[in-house]
């Protein structure tokens, strides 16, 4: 299933996406819409609840980034981008602290899509139905990536997780403002291209460093890509081909750069040191 096939169906994009899911799973469109609605509500609820909150994460490598960003008056970012960044950081930290999240598309990248949705709701007065339709379009983008490539860091690296999240969020924003499937696909392509090749290298295997901050960055890539699409900028390489490229790049990544915690940042001296310190702390805690 290619995104361009969904686009050429001739019916509104959200409808066509749900119709295709129904054809595959047998779950009626109305029920699917309700399930999507539930997921969206959990995202918005958690964004509100965790906004700028300090978290006690499992490894303790992160936990106060959302809080720092929330209490900082942005110097360069717009109000919209700042708010989306705070949500992305806060939810990623909540995830690392065993908080409730929506794995969109994964736990590690769970802050990106809610980041833009929350900002749309709070700052652009987004109405419920339009937000839901845009979220379904984001789902269609993620679904196409999963079908034609992968959304798992262990298979395709961080580009597959965070890249997918950024592509989904940029399509969501673009569809919200334009209701144009073509423009949404352009935004998704631009966002995914910008994260091509990103490796999955979590320090110690924990979903904390660099995952939390990458949520904060990916949400801004999504916003910039959407802004470009709104300006009429098109991706020279169409979305479906970018997905194929991402898949090929993912396959050629060595295993050490696919969620093993062995390569990239995880292999740096500082990473090794903080993991060693953590193990010592855990060991002495067990003894007590």
């Amino acid at each position: 299933m290619k995104f361009k096939e969904i686009l050429s169906a001739g019916v509104p994009l959200p409808e066509e996406i749900l119709r295709r899911e129904m054809a595959e799973s047998g779950v009626p469109v109305e029920l699917l819409r309700r399930e999507m609605q539930k997921l969206m509500e959990v995202m918005l609820e958690e964004a509100e609840k965790q906004y700028g909150k300090r978290q006690k994460t499992l490894a303790g490598f992160t936990g106060d980034n959302g809080s720092k960003m929330a209490s900082h008056d942005a110097v360069m970012l717009s109000e919209f981008s700042h708010m989306a960044t705070v949500v992305a950081l806060s939810l990623a930290e909540s995830n690392a602290a065993m908080g409730r999240v929506v794995a969109c598309p994964t736990g590690g990248a769970c802050g990106v899509v809610p980041g833009v949705m929350y900002a749309l709701k709070k700052l652009k007065g987004a109405q419920y139905d339009e937000l839901l339709n845009s979220f379904i379009v984001a789902g269609g983008i993620g679904w196409c990536i999963e079908k034609n490539a992968t959304i798992a860091g262990a298979e395709g690296g961080c580009q597959a997780e965070m890249g997918t999240a950024a592509a989904m969020a940029s399509a969501l924003l673009t569809y919200y403002f334009t209701e144009s499937g073509e423009k949404a696909a352009n935004a998704a392509a631009i966002a995914l291209k910008s994260m091509l090749g990103l490796v999955c290298d979590p320090v110690g295997g924990y979903v904390e460093v660099p995952c939390v901050k990458r949520n904060g960055i990916a949400v801004n890539i999504a916003i910039s890509a959407a802004e470009m699409a709104l300006a009429g900028i098109e991706s020279v390489i169409p979305f479906d081909e970018v997905v194929e490229a991402m898949h090929r790049v993912g396959k050629s990544l060595p295993e050490s750069l696919r969620e093993t915690g062995l390569g990239g940042l995880a292999a740096t001296p500082t990473a090794r040191k903080i993991v060693k310190d953590l193990k010592l702390r855990q060991h002495s805690a067990e003894k007590q």
């Binding site: 029920l31 409730r100 295997g205």
Partner: protein
């Protein structure tokens, strides 16, 4: 994967394979043995053994064996809650051989009866239950699941299937003991099997043991 699997599910972090998958395996055991066991032992293999504790796999397993759902925010306090409920639990690390890297063996004792279930977390929160007691199997728990120990005689499965009365999605039957003439049957169905049907199946002269593990209602 379905669209809803891509944009969801709602879960407690941090990792769908190390937290959500682990919880679902333990929750399957909880439903299989009919409630929280009196004693439980979790044997962790591979990546679960290496990084599991850092991912909160221990808490997820305890939460699951106490019957919590995947989005329950008490999961992070599962150790304390297990102690309050006086659940007798232990964790150990063992090489379980040639199995998926994220595999757990759960030994649960309830009312003096021991059940041993082995499951793997195969990614994105999806699981595979691959051994129940001594019987190898392959269950995804994406369907309502009926596990039966039945007499290995002609007509046994035929009669039981007649009592199921909903659409069967997958069916598995294997003789496990030729001497005692015993077979294991696993029936996966799209719709829930009604209590009346379950009672009829359980009372069948062919059925020695029956376990019904309905799929969680919040997962479509």
């Amino acid at each position: 994967m379905s669209l809803l699997d891509v944009v969801g599910p709602v879960m407690v972090g941090p990792s769908s394979s190390h937290t959500l998958g682990a919880l679902r395996i333990a929750r399957f055991v909880y439903k299989f043995v009919g409630g929280m066991p009196d004693r439980v032992e979790f044997v962790l293999h591979g990546s679960f053994a290496d990084t599991g504790f850092g991912h909160g796999t221990d808490k997820a397993l305890l939460a699951g064996i106490m019957g919590m759902h995947a989005d329950d925010e008490r999961i992070r306090d599962a150790l304390r809650i297990a102690n309050e409920k006086r659940l007798d639990y232990s964790f150990s690390v063992e090489d379980l051989g040639d199995v998926h890297p994220n595999t757990i063996l759960v030994r649960a004792n309830k009312n003096g009866k021991m059940t041993e279930i082995r499951g793997s977390s195969v990614g994105g929160g999806e699981i595979e239950i691959n051994r129940i007691n001594d019987c190898e199997c392959s269950l995804s728990w994406e369907f309502h699941t009926l596990v039966l120990v039945i007499k290995d005689v002609p007509g046994a499965m035929g009669q039981i299937l007649g009592d199921v009365r909903v659409n069967i999605s997958n069916l598995y039957l294997k003789r496990i003991d030729a001497l005692r003439k015993i077979a294991v049957g696993i029936v996966e169905t799209d719709e829930e099997i009604s209590e009346d049907c379950l009672r009829e199946i359980e009372n069948s002269r062919f059925v020695e043991e029956m376990y019904y593990i309905g799929r969680d209602a919040d997962e479509i």
